[in-house]
Symmetry: C2
Subunit: 361 residues, 2 copies
């Protein structure tokens, strides 16, 4: 942008323009202030997720020297927790902080940018975003809704969940009432289970009273905070249904396009910092709270049997194929996702997997 255009766009009067012009060095820049809002799907300052939103706002304000101030709202404070997409799409709110699988009702393909059962982990999905076609495919989809998306965090591999009965075979999933949303719930249904919708605040009581037989939530840190270890016997791994859930920041596209290039770069970069920050905090907290669950609360950790995982994997592929069959954009995204995953898993075998094995000898 030329300096003259910049001054004009910033809405400076003649006097100010003259004043600026008389100062040769150091440069004087006329700056517009932006007071923007961010609505989120999380309770205010929710561990890691809400904290990530707060930090993002702090970083943007610091980097812009206060030219952009973002007020962060918890779910329900400004708009409902699951009203984020619409609030930002229509421009009522400039920023949203959420996870894209909540918008499956708007466009089925949104789910593939958050979590895919038996899909890519955090490191792989970031390689798809930044080094493959992932982010481009996501941007193109969101542009149809007047939105600009950014990957802004990752939970890492989640846990399979808390169960009050042992899962020894796929038969044990039949009739199982489990709180498990999204694609994971559809996969459970194929195995004869019942995916139940329970609001966050009611899961513990439902589990404790036997209204549900099982629940998934996030990982050791968040699960500890929910106290599930007091209401369930077994803690199963791995989180096949959410192998590395991506958190998103979305911006209203019209408002985004109106921003000067430096603020766009600041937002883009703060989102990337949030991406690596959030995964790192998840990993270190999960590490710490796993030890606490095992040592202080004597939680029984169990791995889902191979036969169960194998069957769930097969059902997952069916669920994904069914979505792709009905929606051309889902088909396109899924094809790219699965090709990338297949290749990077080959590389992962001789890098990450072989290393972990070598270190365990």
């Amino acid at each position: 942008m030329k300096r003259r255009d910049f001054l004009k766009k910033a809405g400076l009067g003649v006097a100010a323009a003259t004043a600026a012009a008389t100062v040769k060095s150091p440069l004087v820049i006329a700056s517009k202030k932006y007071f923007w809002k961010m609505c989120t799907t999380w309770p205010p300052h929710f561990p890691v997720l809400g904290e990530g939103a707060d930090l993002f706002a702090k970083w943007v304000e610091e980097m812009s020297d206060g030219r952009m101030k973002i007020q962060v709202y918890g779910g329900g404070e400004l708009v409902p927790a699951l009203g984020v997409f619409d609030a930002v799409r229509t421009g009522n709110v400039e920023f949203g902080h959420s996870a894209s699988y909540y918008w499956a009702g708007k466009a089925p393909a949104t789910q593939f940018f958050a979590a895919v059962p038996f899909g890519m982990n955090a490191q792989q999905v970031n390689a798809w975003f930044y080094g493959g076609n992932g982010l481009k495919l996501w941007k193109d989809l969101y542009a149809q809704f007047n939105l600009v998306p950014f990957p802004a965090g990752n939970t890492g591999v989640q846990m399979a969940g808390w169960f009050n009965k042992k899962i020894n075979s796929v038969n044990d999933l039949k009739g199982l009432k489990m709180r498990i949303p999204g694609l994971g719930g559809k996969v459970l249904a194929k195995a004869g289970g019942t995916a139940v919708l329970v609001a966050g605040g009611e899961i513990y009581t439902n589990l404790d009273r036997g209204v549900i037989d099982a629940t998934e939530w996030v990982g050791p840190y968040h699960d500890y905070l929910m106290g599930f270890y007091k209401a369930a016997k077994y803690y199963y791994y791995p989180g096949w249904h959410e192998p590395g859930t991506v958190l998103e920041i979305m911006v209203n596209k019209k408002k985004w396009d109106s921003l000067p290039k430096d603020l766009q770069a600041i937002i883009r970069t703060a989102a990337a910092r949030s991406n690596v920050w959030m995964l790192s905090i998840f990993e270190s907290k999960n590490n710490y709270y796993l030890q606490k669950l095992i040592n202080e609360h004597h939680v029984k950790l169990l791995r889902l049997p191979a036969s169960v995982l194998k069957t769930l994997h097969k059902y997952s592929n069916e669920v994904l194929s069914e979505i792709a069959a009905k929606d051309p954009y889902s088909k396109k995204v899924l094809a790219d996702y699965q090709k990338f995953q297949k290749d990077i898993q080959e590389w992962g075998k001789i890098s990450e997997r072989a290393l972990a094995w070598a270190e365990s000898l």
Copy 2:
């Protein structure tokens, strides 16, 4: 910083200050320009590493709206490739881009912030930096040298290297002449091999002519570019000696302290973006070039035998203990590093490792 201090620090004369004061809205900010240099250890625009340095400079310039321009120099262009630490320490150059294991001669503990044989992978080491004590320990060490460090990239798990003889047992390492620098070289020496120093440009010829029996480099992408598949028979994995090498950006501390808070935040955030960007590009490129090496050049991939890895692991622990025994700060860093690694590996077993296993069924 108060506005008055800011104007004073920016070195504005009375005229400029008055001019700025007459403009009420939008805010007029007086801005000093910074033309800083960055010296790097890599050839100019070197794939991923040098490109990461270039992008960092671009991002900082974009975010600061041109208030900070960084000129990036390849190794030898401004100072020698391994003169980065001293050039930045003394303030001859403001920024450096390198890897901290090159500075073992300055302080042995620097090595633990780049790569530890049988140490943490990228995801784990980032958790240690951002969620544990890693970055604080690194900062405290570098502050003694008038430097401020930032993690700014990661190679991911490297490959064990290219060999012209098979490694079936530890005995096959005896007398082996291998290009392998740093701690890996010390471990090889314990196994009876000879770690040879060879400059990057001469490795291929030395390998081709049998002057050396083996070499490590980076991973499939960089190794492909070096053409090693034409000079060696076997490509071994995993890269036990560099399980996730951290790239660093360093800033002269005095110059850093003189920067306004917004530019400090911009640099810190750009480094974090570079951290996730570089690992993602490494992963996607290694993925692509591994397929190319296998399918187009019929490279023979071999895994180091368990007995060899087990012995190398034992020798690695000895090498690390010897460093810790001689240097108190190394002892402190290593104790924190190894405690964090032990715990996060427990979590990794039931998250990343269990997931990778489940997906391979």
